[in-house]
Amino acid sequence: MPAYYLEIIVVVLGLTVLMVETFVSLRDKRSLGWLAILGLLVVLVLNFTVVETGGEGGNTPFWSFYVMDIPAQWFKGLALLATIFVILMSVDFSRVLSKGICPEVEDDGVDDCAENQVALSEFFALPIFICAGMMWMASAHHLVSIFVALETVTIGFYVIVAFMRRNVGSLEAGVKYLILGALSTGFLVYGFAWLFGVTGEMELGAIADALNAPDVHRTGALFAFALILIALCFKIGAVPFQIWIPDVYQGAPMPVTAFLSVGSKAAGFVILLRLLEPFMASEMLNANVTSVLVIIAAATILFGNLAALPQTNFKRLLAYSSVSHAGFLLMAVASAPAHPGVVSPVAAVSYYLAAYLMMTMLAFLIMNLIRVQRGDENLEAYKGLAKSSPFLAFAMLVAMASLAGVPLTAGFVGKFWVFVLALQEKHYYLVAFGVIGAAAGFYYYLKIVKSMYWDSPADAGSSAAVPVVVAWPTRIAIVLLVVGVFYFGVNPGALLSLFL
């Protein structure tokens, strides 16, 4: 099966969800969510079984803008997984969602809008389309296809960030994301135009050849790179373009926040890796490129971790944490392609993103439950969680330990390889910043653990003492993620062997 069938299947799945909603009258529209999850699971299996990778068989020769290699397959898998978890969260979130969409209930007390679950199916379908965009992005190897895939994702996100149209927070987040996102698109397109102007090519392989040629216009190429880097730093949330992250994360509906922090970031990194490759390969350019990446990585780690210290809103805290992880990822991106005996940066980034997906999704799944059932996103709501819901508290403990980078968790191995790469490159200052950032990380992640296990809720009689209800699909997802965090933390070879 050619690889691009996967994207087609995903798009068809999204359309199917919309069609079913239109033509079939459903008693509970949440079943559409299950349909979507099922479909995506099938594609996930197809991605790792049916599709050919590598060699001429998997790559379609006449479409120069689509490649299917190991990283592409890997990131497609990540996109699919992230989407599955996001839709799972959306099912839990549907009650809050309808509140954000429906007008205030009239005096008669019947809430037609909420009863009919208005717009719920769109909320399931849009992530599927975005997922198709991310999957395409993983394979994009041509400026046009990169641009179109990226915009498919970005425009989809504009809609779902602002999805709760009666909720001021969601709208405000939507507008901020829209304006700044469009701004970054402007830089990206302008950069692409310059890149095309300097090299006369649009296919990344040809661009690499052109950049390696001795007569390439150096300043023009660097200018193009700077513009592209600005746009991609925005997507991954690297300093100084991280400003949108806390506000948008806080305002967006919870599943969308999770999607942004995992899916959007992973997509940004895969594009960054693809576009960096030609610049890194060029001897004339790579010194400049590396030095600026190192500076950005150091600043991002420092900013993300330090700004997270005083946070009391959990969602916002995770937003800063997502910034700091972007910084750690950039540490790997900033290293040269290959060192003998050490994992390649691509493998390190891929591993880190998989670990990041698991631990962040774990945190968001639990946060989502707390948000829906206790109506609170602040750290206050987690006090004494270990008493009322020990299962969730333990899962959150695992997520936090992994985010902080405690050994034997996936997060530790991710950080480990990143630091190894930075040391190989002799980026000692960067490593120092990384250590400071990681140490600060321990403080604020463990703050949450402390409030779950050692603090008691502010008022004993409140909802905080009631156990949180966990539906079985969510429970399975949480268990799988906890197992995954430990399994890949203890046995990193299982993932890395794909790349070695």
Binding site: L180, A226, P240, W244, N288, G341, G493, L500
Partner: protein, 613 residues
Amino acid sequence: MEEQNLPWIILLLPLLSAVSILLFTRRSGNISALISTGSALITLLLGVVLLRMPDDAVVAAFPWLNLSSNFVVEIGFQIDQLSRGMMFVVTAIGAAVHVFSLAYMKDDEGKARYFAGLSFFMFSMTGIVFANNFVMMFVFWELVGFSSYVLIGHWFEKNSAADAAKKAFLTNRIGDFGFMIGILLVWGLTKSIYFTQIASEVVDEQVLEGVSNGLLMAMVLCVFCGAIGKSAQVPLHVWLPDAMEGPTPVSALIHAATMVAAGVYMLARISFLIPMSAGAGEVIAWIGAITALIAALMALQQDDIKRILAYSTLSQLGYMVMAVGIHAADAAMFHLFTHAFFKALLFLGSGAVIYACHHEQNIWKMGGLAKKMPITFVTFVIGTAALMGLPFVTSGFFSKEAILGAALHGHKALFVIAAFIVLLTAFYMTRLIVVAFLGKDRSDNAAKAKEVPALMWVPLVLLAVPSVVAGYEFFYKGMKLSPMSPAHEGPVNVWLIVISAAMLVFGIGMAFWGYRGESTEPMRLNRIAQVFAHKFYIDEAYAWLIKVFQDGLAAFTNFFDRAVLDGVIARLPAAGAFRLGSVMRRLQSGNLQSYGFLFGLGAVLIIYLVVFK
């Protein structure tokens, strides 16, 4: 079924059981108990099948950490007579304990947790037994420590249980720290972590030639530290008696038969390293002998039935360690093998007594149980006879003779101590039986005691059989475990038997004569007995030492903290970090226009850095 997969199944089945209990059947204690017991019985069956596996069988290893092309840490299996025999002990006693627990823990609140813990322990212990390298052994070594912590603290509502669990865990950490340094030293000196590889290098290629004896001794003794912690040797023996706060079946399995023996097992695994360093064996032997002696002395004056057995375990472990020290590791393993059966039997028997007497553990409040619990009594006597080493009819006799014989050949002073311990053992065990089982009942609980249900006495009877026959040649040869027999075979030294038999008779006689018909401890006021009863005041000494040390340290660290850390080092960066974080937070004004402005500024900065720098 592929024979090569057998060890994998033995290893993973208990893990599967523990995980499935935790995930799915936590609510239902009975189903959990059945899952766990089922897995224990199956592993016993597989453990027996494993005995037939040839030495050269290759089991597929799992490459765990690929640190570089020439350094791979495996989850690998070393299947030889040592591990096969140990595996049989672990699975056999594990199965008996599981069945016994079905009845003993029948009405316990945390039954599911308990059985999950047992299964997890079985998994960890199997890992130690099969490990073919130091790192894997260390990992499972820690896991065993963890499961022991969970099981000791099973009744964590009781403060004493929670404290005992903590004490066991921390004390073990001290030993494990030494063990870890030892492993690093071994790795550094031999460039390998695999037992077979190290053995062949040591013997064939003499890589250790030219290394100073001090370093070699440090290496061996650091590795030995692990055994000191886990096998509760002096001076880290203090956790084991306290660990008796756990449920009695746990004490039988973990703190008598298997986990505490892991230290001895590990020493046997690396016994080829001990002769490398002159003097290391000597140190090990003396530590073992001292442990054996003082533990036996302490056992003389204990009143808690489980504590008597705990000190007896300490004493027997000391025996084994001593044997390893005098280069008779096979004798040590032989004693481990027989001891596991009869000590598990004794512990389960004490569990039956405690159960029958409604959780009364003081032997002075028992009495007259022989008539009320005949099966328990008979099996208990069999276990006791084996522990004392009753000549020619019990397993304990053969293994003890092996150690005594080795001591006689090697080290006369150690032999004297070892022989004296035979007397002490006979004394305290006779005291236990006379006080608890004979005479008349001294409390209501004892008066109302009756024989335990079949689920409990069947394991007792089943364990009584190997307690008698495990020492006979047909038994271990039948299981293809010949190296477990003493190496110092040959003509039986008649003097040896005469001396130990004399000691035995003397000990039994003294205790019988001294305690018959007594209803309180006759030596209560004796000064020396007081010292024994208070365990040489070692716990108190530690408490004092720790207090003095801690107070001093606390005062110092307090000063250091306030003056140096807080004032200079922490204040500045921590406050700086927070301040900086707040400044960064303020950048986040929430105003879209200023965001756009920052974006533009950043863009200019990036373009400058990339293009013009």
